[in-house]
């Protein structure tokens, strides 16, 4: 038997045949030919071009989901981030998938903006090797109304470097949001993970049950107020030494 049709093509080909008309494919124009003949391996980002690209995408996104659904937008790295009304969560997904060409589900996940507690609890003595995070609650790109947010990224398999990250705020008292399962079936597991890790409830999900953790598990491990026991049951060995760190005058002691 012979192998069936093969579609392999050189990297410099263009994919216009795949991209539908309403989708511009900025990624194509940027990297493939122009950068290929540069000597240096460092690819610089053209900020101006990217923001035009983002502005265009944002305009089309707003056109599809309605201006009152979009609260704030920003750029994270090279990605457009849009914070939308939680009520528009599913309709935005639907618009992304059917109108904007985002056929690919990246992930659905949650964020807890509560400041990271010090490792070993706030009353732990001295510092630990864990990084010290700022103590006040600040929000990232596109802001947030409160502690909990759900964020999701969708991309495209048809257009190069084309993706969007959506964020929606959840109420701390009742973190409910509609499920994406009906739009992107792959959201199933992501939402289950998000539910067990953050306690967000995805309305309309067929079966919200534990994915990673045993089903009798209590608590939501990825919330910032859930302690990381590994860092609490054992004292930090870096503290054992009560002597001061060797000063400058000690340096010759080593040789």
């Amino acid at each position: 038997m012979k192998t069936r049709p093969i579609v392999g093509r050189a990297k410099a080909g263009n994919r216009s045949s795949l991209a539908s008309d309403e989708i511009t494919s900025p990624g194509d124009a940027v990297d493939q030919d122009s950068v290929a003949d540069q000597d240096s391996a460092v690819v610089t980002i053209d900020v101006a071009e990217l923001s035009a690209e983002h502005a265009d995408l944002l305009a089309r996104f707003t056109g599809e989901v309605g201006a009152d659904a979009v609260i704030e937008s920003g750029v994270a790295g090279r990605e457009l981030v849009v914070r939308i009304e939680p009520a528009a969560w599913v309709s935005a997904a639907l618009a992304c998938k059917t109108k904007l060409g985002f056929d690919y589900l990246g992930f659905v996940a949650g964020i807890d903006w509560l400041p990271t507690p010090a490792a070993g609890g706030d009353d732990a003595e001295g510092d630990t090797s864990a990084p010290v995070q700022p103590k006040d609650m600040t929000f990232g790109v596109a802001g947030s109304a409160g502690r909990f947010q759900v964020f999701a990224r969708v991309g495209s398999t048809k257009v190069a470097r084309y993706g969007i990250t959506l964020k929606a705020d959840l109420k701390e008292s009742a973190p409910h949001i509609d499920s994406w399962f009906s739009v992107y079936p792959g959201a199933d597991w992501h939402e289950r993970e998000c539910w067990e890790m953050y306690g967000f409830i995805f309305d309309g999900h067929p079966s919200l049950r534990h994915l990673y953790l045993p089903h009798e598990f209590e608590g939501f491990p990825l919330r910032k107020d859930f302690p990381l026991l590994a860092r609490e049951v054992k004292p930090w060995p870096g503290l054992v030494n009560v002597e001061a760190m060797p000063g400058v005058d000690d340096e010759e002691g080593g040789d």
Binding site: S129, K234, W236, P237, G238, V240, N241, E243, M245, P246, D249, D250, E251, E252, G253, G254
Partner: protein, 164 residues
């Protein structure tokens, strides 16, 4: 019938590969009898050069697994030169690495500012109980003999590497 012939052909091919491989030298090593040669860079076990260590605790502080335990104290030493100042020297009392926890990341070796820790490619130190995987100062010092020389680098590498 055709599929039967196909299957025979498939089998013949498989046996052909077997035959060809049989005639080649073995790629496996009969381990306890023959030792495998490991590359010089391999991260096998950490060796401690006790004299170099100044008990600065940097390694213990940056270890992601918290598996280095260090204790030390300061001692006064007479001055080296006539009329010089008395020196204070940090002396190690305890330096343990728990290999049951260590994940061989090499961060401790990299952060040590006094070149007291080195990687050795030695790998034969398995134990019957987890507790005996805790290597103390003496044992870590013994590994020092197995630390290989620094190898030369590949063509095109930057040559200003003489800082250590």
């Amino acid at each position: 019938m055709a599929s039967f012939r196909n299957s025979i052909q498939g089998m013949q091919k498989g046996l052909g590969v077997t035959l060809k491989t049989m005639l080649k030298p073995a790629v496996t090593v009969h381990y306890p009898h023959e030792k495998e040669e490991v590359t010089a860079r391999a991260r096998g076990v950490i060796a401690l050069q006790e004299e170099n260590c100044t008990v600065c605790m940097l390694c213990a502080r940056s270890c992601p697994d918290w598996c280095i335990y260090i204790e030390g104290h300061k001692e006064k030493r007479p001055a080296r030169r006539e009329g010089g100042r008395e020196r204070t020297v940090s002396v190690l009392d305890r330096f343990d690495i728990d290999y049951a926890l260590c994940m061989y990341c090499g961060i401790c070796v990299e952060v040590c500012p006094f070149d007291a820790l080195h990687w050795s490619p030695e790998y034969e130190y398995s134990e019957f109980s987890i507790a005996s995987l805790l290597h103390d100062m003496e044992k870590l010092g013994e590994w020092e003999a197995t630390v290989p020389e620094i190898e030369p680098l590949e063509l095109g590498a930057e040559v200003k590497k003489a800082k250590k």
